[in-house]
């Protein structure tokens, strides 16, 4: 075992089984603005198994996106822990966190967040540059064909519609075939047919690669397709029972 691997092991919690790819323990996120404290996430507990599809629903302003960003390692929690693949994510150094983001995590943002100076194709391929390897060279063609953006690849984000940008963002998140995919209302800007196609693609990818999918959604139909659903209300996360 190398020195780096030994150092990594220090951050692994042996009590978390291998089957649990994502675990949140007593997760809190509070925003401080002058005299105001806004508790966006209040002591959240969550456990997601490998290959599971988990949806998070709730009203606007309930803290779902904040929770998702914290689970994805993008927002530092005020307290609590997030374990990704058994590793206490926020205790890792920046290089290791970045490696996780490059190779194991994919994020589809609600606001797309595409790089404005790159074309759609370049945006999709950028994660490969950052990871330093072209892992799945033919996957690009499959993805763009399935997402129906193959005729808009040479356009800048400013020249794409909201739906097209959303699909480019989805392709970018999927290109490295990440172990866990976090999606923040990925169908928010899509029409019904495109939304259904995207969900089908995400589920198909999940089935094919054993990916884990954590999705924030307003759409009850999408939430109903999840293996498990959590509800977020005023920062408190509770698991919902599925009604068939």
């Amino acid at each position: 075992m190398s020195k780096a691997e030994r150092r990594m092991l220090r951050h692994k919690d042996p009590s978390i089984p291998e089957s649990d790819v994502l675990v949140a323990k007593a997760l809190c996120k509070t925003f401080f603005q002058g005299d105001y404290h806004i508790k966006a996430v209040d002591s959240a507990y969550l456990r997601v198994k490998r290959g599971e599809f988990v949806s998070i629903v709730g009203t606007s302003g309930s803290g779902k996106s904040t929770l998702l960003h914290t689970l994805a390692g993008l927002e530092t929690p005020t307290s609590g822990h997030v374990f990704l693949d058994g590793y206490d994510f926020f205790s890792l150094d920046d290089n290791t966190k970045s490696e996780f983001r490059a190779k194991k995590i994919g994020v589809i943002f609600q606001s797309f967040h595409l790089l404005p100076a790159l074309t759609a194709k370049e945006n999709i391929l950028m994660p490969q540059k950052i990871a330093g390897e072209t892992r799945y060279p033919s996957y690009f063609d499959t993805l763009t064909r399935l997402l129906k953006i193959d005729d808009r690849l040479h356009h800048l984000p400013s020249e794409l519609s909201g739906g097209q940008r959303q699909r480019v963002a989805a392709a970018r998140a999927l290109i490295n075939k990440p172990d866990i995919l976090f999606a923040d209302e990925p169908t928010g800007n899509l029409d019904r047919d495109s939304a259904a196609e995207l969900i089908e693609l995400l589920l198909a990818t999940r089935a094919e690669l054993g990916q884990t999918l954590v999705m924030v959604t307003h759409d009850p139909a999408v939430a109903a397709r999840a293996d498990r659903t959590y509800r977020m209300e005023n920062g408190i996360l509770t698991e919902q029972k599925h009604t068939p």
């Binding site: 920046d94 983001r101 943002f109 540059k129």
Partner: protein, 535 residues
């Protein structure tokens, strides 16, 4: 109109209250531009002022010994001679028959030229008491030149004897004819030269361009807000009023910072230099007290120009629709992109992103580069004086001049650095969202910082070249009419060494200017969370 103005003022004041740091950075940048402008004008105007003298016996520009009556009459009849008189000397004075000359206001920079013309006309170089000093200076200069040019007969296309002759003439004029002991407390009240207004306009337009670019950056940051106001029914002219008012207020707020700084700088280096000046009796082109009327004129002029610049920025966007303004937020001006870069697929690393970004956003980059390049000529001018002094130190003791130029160079560099740091800080902060996206895709902090440093290095190289070119163009327009001031021509080696020194000096000024703002911005970025930056 009154109601519109009141409403616009209310909005602007509220905006300033809600984002005081942004306003303060604009004020500091304005103050720095104003200080540079005032000092530059003081520098050019002081050259005339220091030579301007009242009508007293002790105030003259040059004196000549041993002239005949007809020769004195000739000098007195010249249009450039303001006053001439004979001096009755003491019995133990080295010379009698001393004829003093004071030139007119317009010719103060050219007294040396006129003195030399008189010497040439009447053949005074070969007459007592000048001959001995001339011959000795000629021999001394010739031997130094021969040593410098390794026994060659000529340099730069001129025979060494001719160069030595010119050097000897300068030496005689400086040491035997020039009046080097001014009585500072008798220097006249300030009189504006006609050239002052010309220079004020020229420099004003130069610095107003800097101000306009900064105003443009501010507009781009507010573009979504302006789009929202338009969507709520605000007229274009009201929006223009808001933007112009914001810029003018920042300009006015910068005056109480700039003026004391300028007075402080002038007084500061006068205090430092005075003991040395008195000791060496070297005449320097220093301003005793900058006249208030001049400062007021410049402040009003620059405030008006900043308003005009802000108005010009609004004109640029006058045809943009409301949606275009709303969409303008968070986008960059990307130049025509025909296809996805084939190099992108082939290049394995993220270095390709640097290249594509710089190429595709070159319009925006050029503006940022222009701001830095335009603030550099003034520090470079003082740097050039410093390097000339460095070379001359080997032959003459002009430590005073060196210190003077060093003080000025450092002070004016700090003001230039303020503008460039604020500009590059703002430009880098505008890219935080882009950086956050790269971080979400797995780019490490170190790699991101290295990427930004590479971009900055490229920008700094371009700025250095531009700044040097600007400086060369501007320095050619400086007045260099006094024959006494003309330096000896340099050997190729010396010229190359001086050019390298100037280039290194330029980089010494340019690199911190480019890197400082970016470094501060990246520090701010790394301190916050990725999601904060994405918001």
């Amino acid at each position: 109109m009154k109601r519109t103005l009141r409403a616009a003022l209310f909005y602007v004041l509220h905006d300033i209250r809600s984002a005081p740091r942004q306003f303060l950075s604009g004020v500091l940048a304005g103050a720095a531009v104003l200080v540079s402008m005032i000092l530059m004008l003081l520098y050019t105007e002081s050259a005339w002022r220091a030579y301007v003298m009242p009508d007293t016996e002790d105030n003259y520009h040059f004196s000549i010994v041993g002239l005949e009556y007809a020769q004195k009459e000739y000098i007195a009849s010249q249009p450039w001679a303001q006053a001439c008189w004979d001096i009755v000397t003491d019995a133990d004075a080295p010379w009698d028959n001393v004829f003093r000359v004071r030139v007119t206001w317009d010719e103060v920079e050219r007294w040396g030229v006129h003195a030399k013309a008189i010497f040439d006309r009447f053949g005074l170089w070969s007459r007592a008491p000048y001959k001995a000093r001339y011959d000795s200076a000629f021999e001394d200069t010739l031997s130094k030149l021969q040593a410098r040019y390794y026994g060659a007969a000529s340099a730069h296309g001129m025979p060494l004897t001719v160069i030595a002759q010119q050097g000897a003439e300068r030496y005689v004029l400086q040491s035997m004819t020039a009046n080097i002991t001014f009585i500072s407390d008798t220097i006249n009240a300030y009189i504006f030269q006609p050239q002052f207004f010309g220079y004020m306009t020229l420099f004003g337009l130069f610095f107003a361009s800097v101000s306009a670019i900064l105003s443009h950056e501010h507009y781009k940051r507010k573009i979504a807000e302006y789009g929202t106001l338009r969507s709520l029914g605000m007229k274009r002219r009201d929006l223009t009023l808001i933007h112009v008012l914001h810029t003018v207020l920042a300009s006015i707020a910068s005056i109480p910072i700039a003026v004391p700084l300028t007075y402080g700088a002038v007084k500061g280096y006068l205090m430092l230099m005075q003991p040395l000046l008195t000791k060496d009796a070297v005449y320097m082109t220093l301003v005793d007290t900058p006249p208030l009327i001049m400062i007021v004129m410049i402040c009003i002029f620059m405030t008006c120009l900043s308003g005009v610049g802000a108005f010009a920025v609004c004109l640029l966007y006058r045809k943009a629709s409301t949606m275009e303004l709303l969409r303008g937020a968070g986008t960059v001006d990307v130049s025509f992109v025909p296809q996805t870069s084939s190099a992108f697929e082939l290049c394995p690393s993220t270095a390709i992103y640097n290249r594509l970004y710089l190429l595709r956003t070159r319009k925006t980059q050029l503006l940022g580069i222009a701001v830095i390049a335009m603030m550099m000529p003034l520090p470079l001018m003082y740097l050039e004086s410093l390097t000339e002094d460095l070379f001359s130190l080997a032959y003459t003791d002009i430590l005073v001049s060196f210190c003077y130029n060093l003080f000025q160079a450092l002070f004016i560099f700090i003001t230039a650095l303020t503008v460039t740091t604020i500009s590059s800080f703002g430009t880098c902060c505008d890219r935080h969202r882009e950086f956050a996206v790269l971080r979400t895709l797995g780019m490490t902090r170190a790699r991101l910082t290295a990427m930004i440093r590479t971009q900055d290095s490229i920008r700094a190289a371009v700025v250095s070249v531009l700044a040097l070119l600007l400086f060369l163009v501007l320095s050619d327009t400086r007045l260099q009419s006094s024959a006494v001031r003309e330096p000896l021509p340099m050997s190729s080696l010396e010229y190359a060494a001086k050019s390298i020194l100037n280039l290194l000096g330029a980089m010494l000024f340019v690199y911190p200017s480019v890197f400082s703002g970016t470094a501060l911005s990246m520090r701010r970025f790394h301190r916050g969370s990725i999601i904060d930056a994405l918001r």
